[in-house]
């Protein structure tokens, strides 16, 4: 397996009698995360017997296992074998998901504040926010909440001093150097710049989650009319986000 980070930097720790922590490094960087994602995609495609949770984060993976079915040593041996193997054809492939977003107006109450803070016009903010292909480092905090990497640094805007008690699901915001989508109604302190009519998380859908760690997101600006049209289609389960294999 062709990892960008050094195999000798990788450390393993038992988590009581039911977990294995695999540490790849100690900072948030693309190369380390690339290694995390390679292992994550490989193990998700061909799960180890007895391992029922695989939780990737910026620079580590937590495996949770059933001690009746496997043990720490077996899992570490499997991981080491995986690292040495040449074959990565069996891994899950990352995809790029296009997320429609209606920016500003009622859907992006704070976009003018962001414009005032960054000294960038609203139109330019929309253009800059919707051009990167954002890497999903991990999901956490809320179901389907993606920690995205790639927000243009000029768009950095501090969080609200007094967080809102309720942010509507689908809201797209900027918090400090981060950007993301709120998958559920929740309290939060991010600056709201737009809203998507799609649901990153729907428990009753065949595939409850639209994307996972290692996938990429691109925001696509839409009009208010398009927003309502897509929202109706989502309600009838007739809207499907465009997604392609990443790097295709």
């Amino acid at each position: 397996m062709n990892l960008k980070s050094n195999i000798s930097d990788i450390k393993y720790f038992p988590v009581a009698d039911s977990g294995v922590r695999m540490d790849f490094g100690k900072k948030i960087d693309r190369d380390i995360n690339d290694s995390v994602m390679k292992i994550y995609n490989a193990v998700k495609a061909k799960p180890f017997c007895g391992v029922y949770e695989i939780i990737p984060s910026y620079c580590s993976i937590l495996f949770i296992y059933d001690p009746l079915l496997t043990n720490y040593n077996k899992i570490v041996a499997n991981l080491q074998r995986l690292l040495r193997s040449e074959n990565s054809n069996n891994s899950l492939k990352s995809k790029l998901v296009y997320i429609p977003v209606c920016y500003g107006g009622d859907f992006g109450e704070d976009i003018n504040d962001v414009a005032n803070h960054t000294k960038i016009s609203v139109d330019k903010i929309i253009e800059m926010h919707s051009s990167p292909e954002y890497l999903i480092y991990m999901l956490g905090f809320l179901p389907g909440f993606a920690y995205l990497g790639g927000l243009p640094p000029q768009l950095t805007t501090p969080r609200l001093k007094n967080p809102r008690t309720k942010i509507t699901a689908g809201s797209v915001g900027i918090g400090g150097e981060q950007t993301g989508i709120y998958p559920l109604d929740s309290p939060g302190g991010w600056r709201l710049i737009g809203r998507t009519p799609i649901k990153p998380y729907d428990p009753y859908r065949d595939n409850p989650f639209l994307f996972r760690a290692g996938d990429y997101i691109k925001f696509v600006p839409i009009t208010k009319d398009e927003y309502y049209m897509i929202e109706d289609q989502v309600k009838c389960n007739k809207y499907f986000c465009k997604s392609i294999v990443y790097g295709a």
Binding site: F13, G140, P143
Partner: protein
């Protein structure tokens, strides 16, 4: 039919062994806090060990059976009674249509598990019956139980072999608990002094504890690297030291990733005790070697699974 809730007490939710396999999507597994008591309750009434049960917090649950059933209550002793007559916990009890179950409040322990023979007739969400209250899914309409809720059993004609033998000695829950476990992956971020403080202190369970975690008060623990580490996955029983320097033992409704350093992880066998601590109870931590930990947990698991053979 099944049982109509007449009083749900402080907090009663339907839980099983959790919504497994979605933590990488940010989804907390939920499930019973005290899995051991859930398993024993299910085995006592002849169910699959991970069948859905009602997790009752503090007590105060009552209901009317709308059909015949066989039930049991494990975990904290909440003085259950049928038609006013006291019945034992940790024992399979037969009831008929119209029988009334009333429960008092636990004096020791915190959570009780009410299991019905054949389990509850409910739709699974993402593979589980567990209630996730934050996401409002699972269990009964995605929420805690309330008076007037009507639950159905999977059978109205319960039959169980050796009912009279289905009884075991209940455990005793103490207000002074030692939780054993393994040092955490971030153990190296704590100085010798800090580690000494953590393992030698007696902590008090605060009333802010819940299914997300057991919050403790007591001696402050310092971390060499401060309290902000890069977020990573959180397992059940991991003990985080937060910005205040105080420990939290991660529960079943914990967030899936966290950015505080973890000094220890509680052994799976000891989560049974962790799940039963009440506010103001005292808690200490003890570090074990990996081999000793595995031995203890395996032994415990064997004892529990051998229970089911008693009644075959």
């Amino acid at each position: 039919m099944g049982i109509r809730v007449t009083s749900a007490g402080a907090l009663s939710t339907i839980q099983d062994n959790g919504r497994i396999g979605f933590m990488d999507f940010g989804f907390s597994p939920s499930g019973c806090m005290d899995q051991e008591s859930m398993i024993i309750a299910n085995l006592l009434v002849g169910n699959n060990k991970n069948e859905g049960v009602i997790e009752i917090t503090y007590g105060g649950f009552s209901g009317i059976f709308t059909s015949k059933s066989i039930f049991t209550i494990t975990g904290a002793d909440i003085s259950p009674a049928i038609n006013g007559k006291s019945v034992s916990t940790y024992k399979a009890i037969e009831v008929k249509e119209g029988d009334i179950l009333t429960c008092g409040y636990a004096k020791t322990g915190l959570r009780s598990y009410l299991a019905f023979h054949s389990g509850l007739y409910l739709k699974k969400v993402m593979g589980s019956l567990s209630t996730n209250r934050m996401c409002k899914i699972g269990g009964y309409m995605g929420r805690e139980l309330r008076a007037m809720d009507l639950l159905f059993f999977n059978t109205t004609t319960p039959t169980l072999k050796k009912i009279h033998k289905r009884e075991i000695v209940p455990p005793v829950f103490s207000s002074e608990v030692v939780l054993r476990g393994l040092r955490g992956a971030e153990y190296s971020l704590f100085s010798d002094d800090s580690r000494r403080v953590f393992f030698n202190s007696e902590y008090t369970v605060t009333k802010d504890s819940d299914r997300m975690g057991i919050k403790l008060d007591g001696a402050v623990v310092d971390s060499k690297a401060g309290f902000d580490i890069i977020s990573n996955g959180m397992g059940l029983g991991e003990v985080q030291i937060t910005a205040s320097g105080l420990p939290i033992v991660m529960g079943v409704d914990r967030q899936t990733v966290g950015g505080y350093p973890k000094i220890m992880t509680v052994a799976s066998s000891d989560m049974h005790y962790a799940a039963q601590v009440r506010p103001n109870d005292r808690l200490c931590f003890e570090e074990l070697s990996y081999d000793k930990l595995v031995k203890i947990c395996n032994k415990r698991r064997k004892v529990i699974y051998n229970l089911s053979r008693l009644w075959k």
